[in-house]
Structure formats: structure tokens, C-alpha cells
Symmetry: D2
């Protein structure tokens, strides 16, 4: 396998730090350049970043001099991961793509662009073909791929087997989201210690829209979104990592029993299983038999944080099924998801 030189945009932020930690010892990707705001540019990464990961800052990264996020500064990398804040991601990612540098982004800015894949490798790997419709550069050397919102990931992953077998008619969910989802400094401790906050600004509209693109159908290079309504109540709970979802779904076709559905989860095979991607978990969906599982503190780190855990499946007496889903929000729901996207794109020879 050739080695790829990768850049990280937004490297000093919470998502950027997670990229750095997850890329340590990555078999294919080598951190070659780090980008941040002009305030950090010129400093060593150790100086520029307020390192908040519990694992120590890798010494190989500490001395890298941070650059401003211009395409010229990153001309030597094979592609970039973007952990940029949405307030600047739009312009910068566009500039990189236009300059011929592929962008694997965690930002929301291009997620709704009809030519940009919103990608969960185990859910919609075929959507990467949308790249061929992008026109950022004439030679298609520059392009953009995005990963979904951190709630949309476990939601859509857990809906996928249901959608394939029964057809989703509607979805109601309440999310209980970890504080790490708000970045750093993020949620003040006075707001959340011993408390629940019943609202997260801007979150619910993403949860309503993204599953429909992810479960959309690509025909002749054109993506038709799925069309069921989703209604989310996003809450914040005093948990470090792991977004938990309480989901109720209405189906087109009715399963015979909850056991039938549980079996479908247990027997589900990931469409990218045979690609053997380095960051792919053995069980992209793992079903827990105990109704008290999954729990964020116990299971968010399962399989290096790349698993979606599901449990408590039962028939609903209002709609059809009700269950719990949970995934690590800053790994599977952010940096780890983007890295898996890049791995898929390598195997599919887009990189």
C-alpha cells in the first residue's frame, strides 16, 4: 500500500485533535501538514493547540508548524481532512477543491450539495459516484466528500436494515447527546452538571434532513432522497462521549415480531465488509440483548469508537418499532467517520 500524505484543516479544534489522535499509527495516512487560523499559523502545534485529548499529544505532531488554511500551503498533501468550523469551512473547502486538493470534510457546509456525497461507508458506499458529477476542477482532481451529523450517523445506520427490509414510513426520536459534541470549551459545567438541557440549537433540522440523503437512491448519477418524515428532539446530557437515541419508527411493511427484527440486525452484513478497511469495525451495528444496554459510558468506545450499538428493540403500540441506538459522537460521528470515508475512497481509487 502506498502511503498518503494528509493535511488536517482546523487542526487545533476538538475535531482536529481527534483526527490527529486517530491518525496516529494509521497504516495508510501520514500527517504531513496542519492548518488553522492565522492566529495559530507559524507556531508549533504544541504551542498553538490547547490539547484536550486524554492520550498524550504525539511527539511526531508536536513540532509541526501550523499553517494558514490556503491551498498553496497544502500543495504537497494528497488530500485533506477538514475539521473546520462551519463559519469558515465553506470558503476554505471550496478553495481547496478548486485548487485540485480532495477534501474529506466533517463540516456541514457541503452536506446538502447535490453533487457532494454525504457518506457512511456501511450505508451508502455507492454514493461516492457523485464525485464524478462535481465540477470544482476541470480534471476532477479536486472534490469534496462529507460525513453526516453525529446523530444522523447512528440513526441512519440503525435505520438502514429496517429501510431495506420494511421501508421506513416515519421516524420519531429523542437524542441524549454528550457534551463533547459541543466542542471545547463548549457546554459550561454550570449548565449541565446534574442536569439535562432539552434543546441544542440547529441540531434538529440536520437530523431531519441528512438520513433522507443518506438513504437516497442513486440512479444514473442522480440522487433521489428518501422521503419519510423525521422528527427529532435533541437534548444534552452530562455524558462525555456517546450520543444515545430513543427511536420509534413506522414501517411500510410490518415485521412478524421484534425477534425477526433483532435477527435482521444480528445477521446484517456490511456492504464494505470484504474491503477490509483499517478503521471499519467488525460490527458496524451491534445488537445488545440486555434492555439496559447500550450505555454511552460502557459502549461508546467499543471497537475503537466505530460501532453503532443498538438495543431494546420492541414493538411500539403507537407506530411499529421502538429501539435505542448509540455511537461515539466524535469518533464514529465525526473524525473517525471521515477517516473511514477516506479509506473507502482509497480502495475505490478516488485517492
Amino acid at each position: 500500500m502506498p502511503e498518503y500524505n494528509v493535511g488536517i484543516l482546523g487542526a487545533t479544534g476538538a475535531v482536529g485533535q481527534k483526527f490527529i489522535r486517530l491518525l496516529q499509527n494509521h497504516p495508510w495516512f501520514k500527517i504531513a501538514a496542519l492548518g488553522a487560523s492565522s492566529r495559530s499559523a507559524g507556531k508549533s502545534y504544541a504551542e498553538a493547540a490547547n490539547w484536550i485529548e486524554s492520550a498524550e499529544l504525539p511527539s511526531s505532531v508536536a513540532d509541526i508548524v501550523v499553517k494558514e488554511c490556503t491551498a498553496k500551503n497544502f500543495s504537497d498533501v494528497d488530500f485533506v481532512f477538514s475539521g473546520l468550523d462551519a463559519s469558515v469551512a465553506g470558503d476554505i473547502e471550496l478553495a481547496f477543491a478548486t485548487a485540485g486538493i480532495p477534501v474529506i470534510s466533517n463540516a456541514k457546509n457541503f452536506r446538502t450539495d447535490p453533487t457532494v456525497p454525504l457518506l457512511i461507508p456501511e450505508v451508502n458506499p455507492d454514493h461516492i459516484q457523485l464525485i464524478d458529477t462535481q465540477t470544482f476542477t476541470k480534471d476532477r482532481s479536486g472534490w469534496i466528500v462529507t460525513n453526516p451529523n453525529c446523530v444522523a450517523v447512528p440513526l441512519t445506520t440503525s435505520l438502514k436494515p429496517l429501510h431495506d427490509h420494511y421501508g421506513i414510513k416515519s421516524v420519531i426520536l429523542t437524542s441524549m447527546q454528550a457534551i463533547s459534541g459541543a466542542g471545547y470549551p463548549g457546554v459550561p459545567s454550570l449548565d449541565i452538571l446534574g442536569n439535562v438541557i432539552p434543546h441544542i440549537g440547529g441540531e434538529e433540522s440536520k437530523i431531519h434532513a441528512e438520513p433522507l440523503k443518506l438513504l437516497g437512491t442513486l440512479i444514473n448519477g442522480k440522487l433521489t432522497h428518501a422521503s419519510f418524515p423525521v422528527q427529532a428532539t435533541a437534548t444534552r446530557v452530562p455524558v462525555i462521549n456517546g450520543h444515545m437515541l430513543s427511536v420509534t419508527v413506522e414501517l411500510e411493511n410490518k415485521p412478524a415480531s421484534e425477534d425477526e427484527v433483532i435477527e435482521r440486525y444480528k445477521n446484517w452484513v456490511s456492504p464494505i465488509k470484504e474491503l477490509d478497511l483499517p478503521s471499519a469495525p467488525d460490527f458496524p451495528i451491534y445488537y445488545h440483548n440486555s434492555p439496559f444496554y447500550p450505555q454511552p459510558r460502557l459502549h461508546a468506545d467499543s471497537e475503537q469508537g466505530m460501532r453503532t450499538s443498538v438495543g431494546k428493540m420492541r414493538k411500539s403500540n403507537v407506530l411499529d418499532l421502538s429501539y435505542i441506538a448509540m455511537a461515539h459522537n466524535t469518533v464514529r460521528g465525526a473524525a473517525g467517520g471521515a477517516i473511514l470515508n477516506a479509506e473507502l475512497l482509497v480502495r475505490k481509487e478516488y485517492l
Copy 2:
């Protein structure tokens, strides 16, 4: 107002302690006797109880000698509050009622008995007439009244104005329940610190059933339950007091807008307002305008813990309305609710 001598059954437990604290300085009710298991009988209350309330143990109570829960031991009281555990409440409460001592119970054992009122004074005060159908004693001197499960209280209270104006067709909810709901020692800290547990054993079936009895119609002394389906997912969160509910409802008749619904909450008048009960809050339902409210740590204690707080009302794109409700689980949802029940029964001359 005459003063009532009251007994407390299960006085050493978490609910019993809350009764004691809430009855301090009560204008009508005076603690005259305390009952617990044979293990505690004969000891002073200070010795027998592991006091866990933050307010100090009232000195007037500390020296009361705890008795076994037999009707004979409580022959001098006007009525008893029961905070007994469900494992023993059935037999003991029956014995008291049969012996002619009214029982205002927080236990679940008689909640489903068709002759026993399941009572929230602001929701179904007329249901107290069911007492007249009870046959525990020939002279009707002994009877039982119960208060609902701690989630059923804010759920049904918040549903009441919707049911009256629009008719409830179905309800889906996720509860985020405080640790105090599990009593003491209750939830191990290793299980819940920085975590969410997605299941509470035995809780969901109560949430499914109790609102239907509470919103039932009493005609000629016979109660017809409401008949819509409720589907609950009960979770435990690291919060001390205050159960929060994320509720989605389907209605028979559709409101014009969410603002119309909010106005109904704001203009809602409690049916017991003019009775001026000592423990009745000014706002049995309080609507918060901020979508970030209510929060358990900020609002569970509002109006001495007797208020149901509601917020974040919005139209649902799956069913009809979605909102947040919250109430103090051990006050409004347990001991405080029982005391308000007793106050109503005094005013209505059952006591």
C-alpha cells in the same frame, strides 16, 4: 380549620422521609405516628431512619417511636399517608382501610383497582367520588386513594389541556428520569455517573396505563378509561431530582398553530384553583418560552416542587405536537402529590 393527626406508613424510606419534610409546618396536618417494618419498630425515628433529606430531621419527629404498620397501632390518627414499598403495601393498606382508617397512598398496588381513585387534583378531582363505591368497610370509614407514577404525573398533567381541546389519539414519549426516583441506596454511582441507562424495569407499563385512568370519564359512579395508546421509553440520567419527558402526541382535532396550543397552556385554569389548597401551586402547568427550558436542576423546585413545567412546544412533522414536560419526581410525583390529594379530600369533606 381543625388539625388532623396523620400517620405515615413506610416512614423510614425515601418517600416516607419526603412526607416528613413536606409536612413540617403544614397548616392542617400534624404527624402523630410513624410506621415502618418490625426491624425499626420500637426505635426512635432518629435511630431507625438513615435520614437522606438535605434539610435537617425536624426535632419534633426525631424522638417519635416508630411502630409496626398495624391498624391497631394507628388507631389514634385521622388518616395515613403510605410510602410503603409495593412488596408490602397491598396487604397493609388493605388492613388499614378495612379497619376504618383512610389511606392516601403513593404505592402502586391499588392504582388499578376500579373503585380506587388514581388522583391528580388538577386533572381529575371528580374521581374522588369513586371512594363511595369502595367496600372496605360497611360504614365507608376506611378507604384508599392513590397518586400516580412519577412520570404519569407530568405526562398526564401536560396532556390534560390537549385532551380537553383536541382529543388525544396517541402518545410517544422518552423519559429522562432522576436518580431519586429509584429510592435509596437506589442507583449505584458506578452505573450512572457520566452515563445514561436506557431502561428502568417495570416503569413503562405504568406510564402506558395510568394516563388512561386519569383522563377517564366518570359517569354514574363508573369510570371509563380514555383509550389512546401510549408508548414510553424510560431512561435514567445523572440528575438528582426532576423527571423530564420528551413527548410527541397525535390529536383528534388539529390546532391551527403551535402558538394556539401555547396559549391554551398559558390560559389554562386549574379546576381546583378556587379551593385554595395549601400545597397547590399557582401554576400547576407553567409554560417556558425559552426552548432551553424547562431543566430539572433549574426548575424541579419551582413552587416547592409542585409545578409541572412545559416547554419547546412545536408542531411535529410525524404526529401533531412535540414538547418537553418536567416535574419533581419525589414531590409532585410522589409525597407532595399525595399531600395535595389529602388536602382536596379535606375540602371535599371526605376527611
Copy 3:
């Protein structure tokens, strides 16, 4: 009792909000003016402040228009409470005092000024005479009084009976401080949830110095500080309110037993007891017999947060005594302490 019109400087901050809440229904002091930065000036208080107290914003305060903190803007008040940040408190408080407006300050800026009383009414009420040595105005109409750091309050209060009877030779302590001590937004939840932080910038030097001034001796208008060394380790713990101290002291004269010391605490009489100040607690020092007490969550609110709780007194096998002290950091250790200072100054006719 005449009513005083008071102003609050720094009214939108965490300490300012606590002043507002504590002055609600105060029998002597009426909030007449609110000051904040130019950014807030001209707005109603409800608009300007991000209200974080759990009690609702008093409606009588919500509509007060916030002013900039200039003496001219506060010419109608009898005195001001200052909850200003240290970065601006020095200049503003000086300007107010110079303009003839008494300042009762929670800021640290003037605490070390030899003419400014650093005051805990139960510890060193006589120090208010230092006011007579102040020269901010010729007619002594303007002056400044300060209250101590939030750790220094329970530390010095609990040391006072020991110092009087035995003489303090040295003090070693570890503080476990609540998050509310850092203001709002203050401590990020990602830093403190399920964690302890072993350092609080700038805190230890205040804890080393302030007890010596507080326990100093005033002779002929000149204050001689006490002279024992104090060594503090200040840590942050995930507690909302209540700083707990683990204290070990060396004494000049040795007590016969720990019981002798406990009796001194229990029999200790506050020097301001007979003044009957509205905010003075019945037990400025309360000794708990259980070694598991005091605890911040159970006892910080005791007596409206104005009590210093002490417990676990025992002989030390290294120095002489070891014990636990605890007080509410934003009430007794900040706004409540300042209000009690003002009450003393009223009774002593400085106001």
C-alpha cells in the same frame, strides 16, 4: 428602620445576579440602580443579563435599565455593592469612593489596602473602624469595605475559635472548590465532569494572605496582621455550590482532647449575635457529629447559605488538629457575605 436605596455594580455577572437574588425581599435594602459595562448600558436588565440563577428573575428588577458604572449614574443610591471583575473593580470602586459613595465590595482589589477592612462580621467586626482611616473623601462620606475570598471565609471562621483559645501556629489545607466559584461560563464541562482539577490559578496566594489580615489585631486604628504560615492546595471538583476544606492546624497551646475542641465550637457565640442582623445565621459555625458531614450538596444551603459547617475534628498525628470546613462559596463566600457586611455597617451607623 429606614430603607436604603442600593446600587449593584457588575450586576449582570454571576456575583451580581446572586446579589439581586439575595436582596429580593431584604427588609432594609432596596435595589435602586444596576451597573454593568457599556455593552449592557441602556438595556433592560432582562435583556442585558443571561440570568443563571435557578430562582426566576424578580419582575421588579427585570425592567430596570442598566447603567454604566459611573458615580454620576449612581448619585441617588445610599451605597453600592460591587460584584465587579477584578480587571475593572480597582478604578471603578476608587471613583465611587472618591465621589462619596460607600462601596461594599466582593472584588479582591482593595482587600490588601491597609485602610480597607477585610470583613467577616462574626470574626473581626471591630475592623470596621479602619474606615475612619480612609481618605478617599475629605468628609469620609465615601469609603470601601471588602469581603474575603470564598475559601478564606470558611477557613478563617473555623480558625477563629482555635486562634482565640490556643493560638494558631501554622495551617495546611486542601480545598475542594465548587464550579460556581469560577463564574459563568466558567469551567468547561469537558474539563470537570467526572474529574478533579488540582489547581486554580491565583487562588492559593489569597488563601495564604487573607486569614492573617482577618485575624489581625486593631490597636489605635492600626491593624497588625496575624503571623502564622498558611499553605493551601486549591482544587476544583464537580460540585455546584459549596467549597469544602480539609484543614490541619498546628497550635501554640495544646487542647486536652478533640472533644474539648468540639465543645468550643458548639459553645462558640458570635460577637454580633445580639445585633440581630437580618442575614446573620443562628449558627455561623455549625459542628456536625457525623464524620461523613458536612457535604456540599447537603449543607451548602443550610441557613440560606450563610453557615460555615465544620466536622470530623480529630487530633492530627503530624500537627495538632485536623478537620473539615465547608461554606456556600457564592453566598457566604461572596454576595451574602457582602450583604451581611452592609448590615453590620448599618447597625454600627456607618450607613
Copy 4:
């Protein structure tokens, strides 16, 4: 390296579970037998244990049938680890040793026995010679080695370089201990959420005594304990794993500066470094330069939980030095420490 068959006594408890997790994939030790109370005997481990580790129960262990803790039942193992509760450990461990089975114990029962090594391999590896003085069996085939209390481990490890260079005269410390130290179910969440408890029953006497044995001198097979006084205040904080200590020490000889002391920590070389034990950390003592470090949530897991982290070293103005120490209480302070003890005993050919 030959493989050792090991038994675990008390296998279903919290410490026993930690043994099982840490021995997964151990290069030398293979779990061959599991012992618990008669209540569990005869069940598979999966049935008998309420598995609370976040890592999944290893499938190789799930089906092992649990036995009662009799020597006969463990005749096939090379030695046993004991995670038994102190209430039963004394008798059972004695029976095993007498029957010729070496016992590596985490229980406190034999820690004070003058012939039983209380062992931290990096602190007092030579103490294993005490085994030769044990008389449980005539042929010395059966013997007992213990590891210290979970606070004594980081305390004594951090004192060791100071004791060697300067001589310890006295120690005062306050511990802030994690909830996992109380086992399961352990600390009720209602007691500790958002709180600190200033006392842990029975803990302080162990902290006073064990460092003196650990730092004792072995001459001609006889151990002379160190003789300085230690005074501890043990508190419980809402942290999952990692006991933090705030330590102040008095020294016989004075260091020139705190930097000199810090250098001694940084240059300290473990006496067992060259033995290359599988569980030995690279840095048994790791000094953090930031005064805000170490923190339990960030650093308890460093080097698989086997490191003692130290920070905030400074001169004390009362005694001589003050610093913070922290280690993972159930790994380094319990099961992990016992496993390292066993590894040392293998290398030294006691096993």
C-alpha cells in the same frame, strides 16, 4: 517462558473482574480456575457474575464453571490471585497457603503480618525475601504476598525518591478517591452526584500504616518499618477511576529548590527496570509540568493504568514540599499491582 495456570479467588467481585480483564492476553498467565462464594459455585462465570467492566466479558472466561474457594478445587493451578473481600480473605488465603498454593492477594488481611511482603515492585522489590520466613508449609511451597491499599500505592511510590534522597519526617495528605474504590454496588449515586463526602470508613488507618512497612528496611530477613507519622483525610469524589492525593511532606534534609526535586522525579530509575516485566510501565512515576495535571479522567489510564502521575511540586511554607499524586485505584492500586507482583515473583523464581 513457560505459561502459568492461575486461579482467581473472589472472581465475581469488582476486583476479581479487573483481574480477569487485565489477564486477557497476558503473555505468562492463563486463567485456569475461578473461585467465588457457594452461591456462585456450579454456575458458569457468565451466569454468576454481574459483569461491570466496560470491555466485554472474554468469551474464554464466560463458560468457566465457578468453584468454591477451597484449596482442593484449585489443586491444578500454579498460584492464585485473591480479590476476596476482607471478611473472608483471612481464612481462605490461609487455607490456600497452608495447602501449598501461593497466594498473591489484594486483601488487607495479611498486609500487616511481619512475614508477609507488602509489595510495590518499584518501591521495595527486596521485601519478597520475607517469603522465606513464612511457615505456612514446611516446604515453603505455599506463601502469601500482598499489595497495598489503593491510596498507599501512589503515596508511597511518590514518597520513595524523596525518602531515599532527603528522608521523610512527616506526611499530611488529603485524598480525593474515585467511586470505583468502593466496589459494586458501592457508593449510592444519591450520595455522591455533585458532591464530596469527607470520610471513608477504615481508610485512613491503612494510609497511616502501610507506607511505613513499604519503606521499611530489610536486614537479615527482618523488616524494620520506617517511622515517620502520616496523617490522612480520605474523601470521596464523583470520579470513576483514579485516586488523587494532595500531599505535604516534611523532610530530614532540605532540597535546594523545587526544581531539584522535580529533576529527581524525572531522573528516577525504577529498580526493576531491567527485569522487563510485562505489566511494568515505562514511567512508574511520571512528572507533569502543568500545574493543572495530573487529572484522574485524563491520566488514570496512562500506560494501561499502571503509572503514578505526579505534579504541582512546590515548596511548602509550613512543612517542606507539597505536590499532587494520582494513580488508577483498581489497576495500579489493586488488580494490576497484584499482577505486577506476580511477574516480579516469576522473574525472581518464587513462581
